[in-house]
């Protein structure tokens, strides 16, 4: 990483430079251990290596250049914030840092200790001045997907310009009305922030841009149904993670090229692991960059991950916005409907998620499902028990893992995951 060239920029963004240097160093080593050590990686992953190495560098510089030209940067933590509206108003939409232990002690001064690692992380990144994305934001958009986040945003609002959208908890007609009102409120806020009025033309273009990115990720997902698996789960997760940071058009182009390489690999019957490698679907809480602990443990235990049922995975890419609308009103309705199909555990009863996990496991020819729940995440913790029963009834083996971002439980995780993989192998006989 060419850190020196960016130091002045980081200084202007008021980052804690020594602590940030430390973070980049740890990240670089972590990335080397988990990613660069892989055998038989696709050539197209070099693009991801580059983007990740420049995630706090070149990408931030791009954001600063866009800001200098009058564009606004909007940061989010959740797939519920309608990106189409951000883009239609000429703003940039980015996911914010929330995947590593950072500033935990500072965060615990704002939120209770028994708060999930993801929330503590985004607060810690801000308070410890470690996230150049958060520092670049003209607006941070939160959402009421869980009590932890909802209350954390109250505290967070004292540190960043904050807007909180209300996500309904059910999917009845009155909930749709509420959600539509929130989408319209978001539209008005973004228009006021950018000084640009969203037109049918700009909204249609934004819908096509975001759909194009979803389509290429869908294509990537479909290719992973092949046996042997053409790409590691770690690499696929990284691609999904980077989709939240990178320019959407450039990203879709690069991943499309990568998918071409995967297609050739599948046609040649080649893969990253032997065909008899147990295949797993990961399901549950989001894994934000650089939360690669569990995928690394899984793939080191001799299994391969073939799908992520997660916000950083199929929950973000499964549904497209209908492109047939011609007026802003029609397109807003299409956006409202698409986002309400998200099967987040914040909804009740959310039985469609159970079906979606089963469908994904079958489509990817998975031998089992590994449920991943962040410690103290009530919504996914509850659904983990419900999903385990459903998977058992469907004859799909599953293992539930509860963990956080610390590395102290790696040995215990290894034992559980290895035992699960041994169990799947012996079932195959």
């Amino acid at each position: 990483m060419q850190h020196d060239a960016y130091r002045a920029m980081w200084e202007r963004l008021d980052l804690d430079l020594p602590a940030h240097d430390g973070l980049l160093q740890v990240l670089g080593k972590f990335y080397g251990d988990i990613y660069m050590s892989q055998q038989g990686r696709l050539q197209g992953m070099e693009y991801l290596d580059f983007v990740l190495s420049e995630v706090h560098g070149l990408r931030i510089q791009e954001l600063q250049e866009a800001k200098a030209q009058g564009r606004k940067v909007i940061g989010t933590f959740c797939v519920f914030v309608p990106e189409e509206i951000t883009l239609a108003a000429g703003a940039i939409h980015v996911g914010l840092c929330a995947g590593a232990e950072a500033g935990t002690e500072l965060a615990e001064q704002l939120v209770p200790r028994n708060t999930c690692a993801l929330i503590k992380s985004f607060i810690g990144f801000k308070l410890a001045r470690l996230c150049p994305f958060t520092q670049s934001c003209d607006l941070v958009v939160g959402e009421t997907t869980c009590d932890g986040k909802k209350k954390a945003y109250e505290a967070f609002a004292e540190h960043v310009p904050m807007l909180v959208l209300e996500v309904p908890q059910q999917k009845q007609s009155c909930d749709r009305e509420l959600w539509k009102a929130e989408v319209l409120r978001y539209k008005a806020e973004v228009e006021a922030l950018t000084g640009q009025t969203i037109t049918a033309q700009s909204l249609a273009a934004a819908i096509r841009t975001v759909n194009a990115r979803r389509r290429v990720l869908q294509r990537l997902g479909a290719l992973r149904a092949a046996s042997p698996a053409p790409i590691s789960g770690r690499d696929a997760l990284l691609i999904n993670q980077v989709s939240f940071y990178d320019d959407p058009v450039r990203f879709a182009g690069a991943i499309s090229t990568l998918c071409d390489q995967m297609e050739a690999r599948v046609a040649a019957g080649e893969g990253v692991a032997p065909a008899d490698t147990p295949r797993l679907v990961l399901s549950g809480c989001p894994m934000a960059v650089p939360n690669w602990k569990l995928p690394y443990v899984v793939e080191s235990a001799g299994a391969v991950i073939v799908g992520e049922e997660s916000c950083i995975g199929t929950r973000n890419t499964r549904d497209l916005v209908d492109e047939s609308g011609t007026t802003v009103e029609e397109m807003i309705d299409a956006i409202v409907d698409r986002y309400l199909r998200i099967d987040c555990a914040c909804f009740t009863p959310n039985s469609e998620r159970m079906d979606n996990v089963v469908d994904l496991a079958r489509a990817q020819k998975a031998d089992g499902v590994l449920q991943y729940t962040l410690l103290f995440c009530q919504p996914y913790g509850h659904e983990s028990m419900k999903l385990a029963r459903r998977l058992e009834a469907e004859g799909i083996p599953s293992l539930a893992i509860e963990t956080d971002y610390s590395m102290e439980d790696v040995e215990q995780l290894k034992t559980r995951v290895e035992a699960f993989v041994e169990m799947l192998r012996s079932r195959r006989g």
């Binding site: 058992e392 083996p397 439980d409 034992t415 035992a419 699960f420 041994e422 169990m423 079932r427």
Partner: protein, 263 residues
């Protein structure tokens, strides 16, 4: 002594065990030592020069065995090792409960002895042998006698905390209130057993139940497991070595198949 063809070694958090098998898969030798903070040195002492064509290691220190044994070492997790061990010492068992030093495991097996489902405690050692060991120290009773002591207790006192430190606080405040130490000891055993029973419930306890691990030597725990689950557990002759026995059979199978392919 008959020629040793397979060795199974279980390196647990508190103790390590070794089981040696001959060509007929009969146990011809076994040994046990505490793990301590110097597991590699302890492993060398445990092996005492023993070796075999096939060695399988299990337990949390399974990766360490390759540093000590000259032969190629295969590793399996405790879950698989206990399933294999149960197939030898209690072939009809459909559920295994293992309460060891730092882990509690519940494993459900199918009729062929294959693992169907398992649960393990998380990183906290509450509800494990370590918890009982700590509490025995608080009571100033040798851990081996703690179960017998608790059997003398009467029901009526409850310990609610799941954390070792909080449970100790509860125990001391119960003592300050004048409760009999035997009753408090019984309550501590019951709190461990409650967790164990819910773990067994989650895997779908199907009898017969094999109760293995060092804590199976504790008569109070055996009685409470029976009381909480309604199932009378099978206690193997040597509950600590079920994992090592399973690992030894894993090694023996590898030896037998290599012997077959060589002939």
């Amino acid at each position: 002594m008959a020629e040793i063809v397979a060795l199974g070694i279980d390196v647990g958090s508190r103790s390590m065990e070794l089981v040696a098998l001959d060509a007929q898969a009969a146990v011809v030798d076994s040994a046990r030592l505490p793990t301590t903070f110097h597991p590699v040195a302890q492993l060398a002492a445990l092996l005492a020069g023993r070796t075999a064509p096939m060695v399988t290691a299990t337990g949390y220190g399974r990766e360490l065995v390759a540093q000590v044994v000259p032969a190629a070492v295969a590793t399996i997790t405790e879950i698989t090792a206990y399933a294999l061990g149960a197939a030898v010492c209690a072939p009809k068992a459909r559920t295994i409960l293992d309460i060891g030093g730092q882990d509690t495991k519940a494993i459900r097996l199918d009729a062929a002895g294959q693992v169907l489902k398992f649960e393990m405690n998380d990183r906290c050692a509450a509800g494990t042998g370590k918890f009982l060991e700590h509490m025995a120290t608080v009571f100033q009773i040798p851990v081996e006698e703690f179960g017998v002591f608790a059997l003398g207790g009467q029901e009526g006192v409850r310990i609610n905390a799941m954390c070792t430190v909080f449970a100790e606080t509860e125990a001391t405040s119960l003592m300050a209130q004048g409760h009999r130490p035997e009753d408090i000891a019984l309550a501590l055993h019951a709190s461990v057993c409650q967790r164990t029973a819910s773990m067994l419930g989650r895997v779908g306890l199907t009898p017969p139940l094999l109760f293995a691990g060092g804590v199976a030597r504790n008569p109070c725990m055996v009685r409470l497991v029976e009381k909480f689950t309604g199932v009378s557990p099978i206690i193997p002759k040597d509950p600590d070595t079920v994992g090592a026995l399973g690992a030894a059979h894993h090694a023996w199978r590898r030896w037998a198949s290599s012997a077959r392919s060589a002939s």
